[in-house]
Amino acid sequence: MKLAFGTMVAMAALALAVGGAEARNAPGVTDKEIKIGNSNPYSGPAAAYSSIGKSIGACFDKFNAEGGINGRKINFVSVDDGYSPPRTVEQIRKLVERENVAFVFQTLGTPPNSAIHEYMNRKKVPQLFVATGATKWGQPDKFPWTMGWQPNYQSEGVVFARYLMANFPNAKVAILYQNDDYGKDYVHGIEIGLGDKLKDMVVARESYEVTDPTIESQVVNLKNSGADAFYNVTTPKFAAQAISKMAELGWKPVHYLNSVSNSIGSVISKAGFEKSQDIVTSFYLKDPNDPEWQNDDDYKAWSAWMDEYYPDGDKTDAFTVYGWSVCHTLITTLEKAGNDLSRENIMKQAADLKDYKAPMLLPGITINTSPTDFYPIEEWQLARFKDKGWERFGPIIAGAVGSGS
């Protein structure tokens, strides 16, 4: 047996040596190129998000024109999955197994990413900076190959809870939420944030289905509960309805509107500026429509890139800002990885971002990750609606929630 043991040790050492040599670079990485996979809903019900995929492509075009990363150009293979999970599985498997991409980046949507979550982790292929706000993307112990990017929905709930407890400790809170993954994540966030005070402070909850025509009766019920604070977790169409109905009822609580619906174009202007005064929301990216940034260097760089590389893009579309910012986060990660472009090292570098100021993040917000913290952005700044625009106020608030919660 001794001999056998010795042989095994030798073989293990050999395997390690071979494995080490093989692990040096991921598939899809050559001296000239890094091949990156992506799926995006270019068609189907969520096609509005396609500007994220397109702006990321345009951003890589700019880096490639400037010489790439350490001489390697980025080959961004972005395919359409129509927001359909089985299609995402097919497309991503093709990218990983046939196109041999080094990793996938910014795959979009909670259902499509859920469909490949197990697969990516079993294959040990990084699923980097996914484009969804669900909280489940930050579980390094269970899913060490998957990482989110944007602040998760729960963290926003925590931020509002902190704001309430600091300024209105005796508030009676009413909650309206969409009955799905997204809505529940938000509700869970405020529950975490309020902690022990949850039972005292939350006096009413109402939910709606995304297929409902209207939410007016829910708003009436919430008003009748006597609440003086309102946590409004609705998507744009319903957010506008809620704002209008509240004005009609003359209900004026402390109104928090989730960031999903803080677009002036598609929500506030539809409900009416008059009715929307003093609504509170949160931001983490610079709003391209905000006059405050027009002379900001950061904004100008974004704007110049839009003009040159994505002239068809809509400059009022916040998704292009999102694409620009997340693209830089990836570039920084790859630059940090240097010439060791193994999948392990790319993941390690992604989990080692310290105080990184990605372009177009609000001043004071930085990206921080660690081997136990797979939530790159966890900070928000509150804003209040005044006249015809959002006015940010107060400090940057961290909404960190426990990993894997």
Binding site: V89, P111, D312
Partner: protein, 375 residues
């Protein structure tokens, strides 16, 4: 929509001695050629095993879709009933397998038969009241089923206060979150044989393909026997002329419901295989679009044909990919080329229907006959 509008070649085997059954598309083959044919079939089935992982997976999916399409063919092609709701039975099969695996801890391969039984039952029960509906009305009723399915899978039950719910479907289906399943690893003994033969472990993808192939082959064999049996002839008689079928003593109500049940069973087993293959289910996987996919597969393959379903399965899986590829190759000329994928797919479909009005099976039949006539 009952009698004459049904396309598809009139099956010639109806008035033949069943003993002469071994024919390929109406042409009788001599023994030697028959053997060669079988060798060819086996070789074709085994070939994907030696390709790369993704190709194996792709072929497995083609077989899976072929089975789903076959379910619809049995209903529409052989019995003359329409369904736009087969995505629902696909979902029933998939979720049956998932729930049996996860909640009852059953191994994946034992779930196929119970899932088939559940699908047969649900198809049969749906078929009973739907019998009163003919043609387009039946299509409409099944359409309702298709659009209700994804929402039913997310149904969270009735609120009884305090955040408690009763009759929640989402509690067992995983709701919007979807359901992840265990990986179906190959059996040890097979792995060791494979290891001895090829010097490599049998990958999960290869095993999934083998498993799918076995299930699909059994199902096709079953369908072949069904169609060529007394029951099959009764089903076809109902399609061709319900009135005279009734006069001949066929209980059309039972046969039509049974046809619905069998059809649902076939598509349901395809759903089970889908769950095993992708290891993940979400309500978004079972939309109306999926039902249309089966219909497309049925029509392009030849709706009144068994083996046309194979072509149909291949078509619905591969043509969207091809369309995708062609669309992205236009990137230099137009904006948002990916948005054109649907358009190109549509063109493919129109072209196919024009070139093969009776589906692939019809085309092959015509070609084979031509060759045979010359010979």
């Amino acid at each position: 929509m009952t009698t004459t509008s049904m396309p598809g070649p009139m099956p010639a085997f109806l008035n033949e001695n069943p003993k002469d059954r071994v024919r390929l598309l109406g042409v009788r083959l001599p023994l030697l050629e028959r053997v060669l044919l079988w060798i060819m079939v086996v070789a074709l089935c085994a070939a994907p095993l030696f390709a790369d992982g993704y190709t194996v997976y792709e072929f497995g999916k083609v077989l899976m879709y072929a089975l789903a399409v076959l379910g619809l063919n049995l209903l529409t092609g052989f019995n003359g009933q329409f369904s736009l709701g087969h995505s629902a039975f696909f979902a029933v099969g998939a979720y049956s397998t998932a729930i049996m695996m996860e909640m009852l801890g059953m191994p994946y391969w034992t779930t196929i038969v119970p899932a088939a039984a559940i699908c047969f039952l649900s198809g049969f029960l749906f078929g009973l009241p739907a019998l009163r509906l003919e043609g387009l009305f039946l299509a409409l009723a099944t359409f309702a089923l298709a659009i209700a399915t994804p929402q039913l899978l997310k149904f969270e039950g009735f609120d009884i206060g305090d955040g408690e719910h009763i009759l929640s479907i989402a509690a067992i289906t995983g709701g919007v979150q979807g359901k992840g399943l265990d990986t179906p690893y190959p059996p040890e003994w097979l792995n060791s044989i494979w290891l001895a033969a090829t010097g490599d472990d049998l990958s999960v993808d290869r095993w999934k393909y083998m498993f799918t192939l076995i299930v699909v082959a059994i199902m096709f064999w079953g369908a072949w026997n069904l169609v060529h049996s007394r029951t099959g002839r009764a089903l076809i008689a109902i399609r061709d002329n319900p009135l005279s079928a009734k006069t001949m003593g066929i209980n059309t109500a039972i046969f039509k419901s049974a046809a619905f049940g069998v059809s649902a069973m076939y598509t349901g087993v395809a759903g089970s295989l889908f769950a095993i293959m992708d290891e993940y289910l979400a309500p978004e996987s079972f939309t109306f679009a999926e039902a249309i996919k089966f219909l497309v597969g049925g029509v392009v393959g030849g709706i009144a044909s068994l083996f046309g379903a194979l072509f149909g399965g291949w078509f619905v899986l591969e043509i969207p990919n091809l369309a995708d590829l062609m669309a992205s190759s236009l990137a230099d000329f137009i904006n948002n080329p990916q948005g054109l994928t649907g358009l190109i797919y549509g063109l493919f479909l129109i072209f196919t229907v024009y070139v093969m009005p009776m589906g692939a099976a019809g085309l092959v039949q015509i070609l084979v006959r031509k060759v045979a006539d010359k010979g």
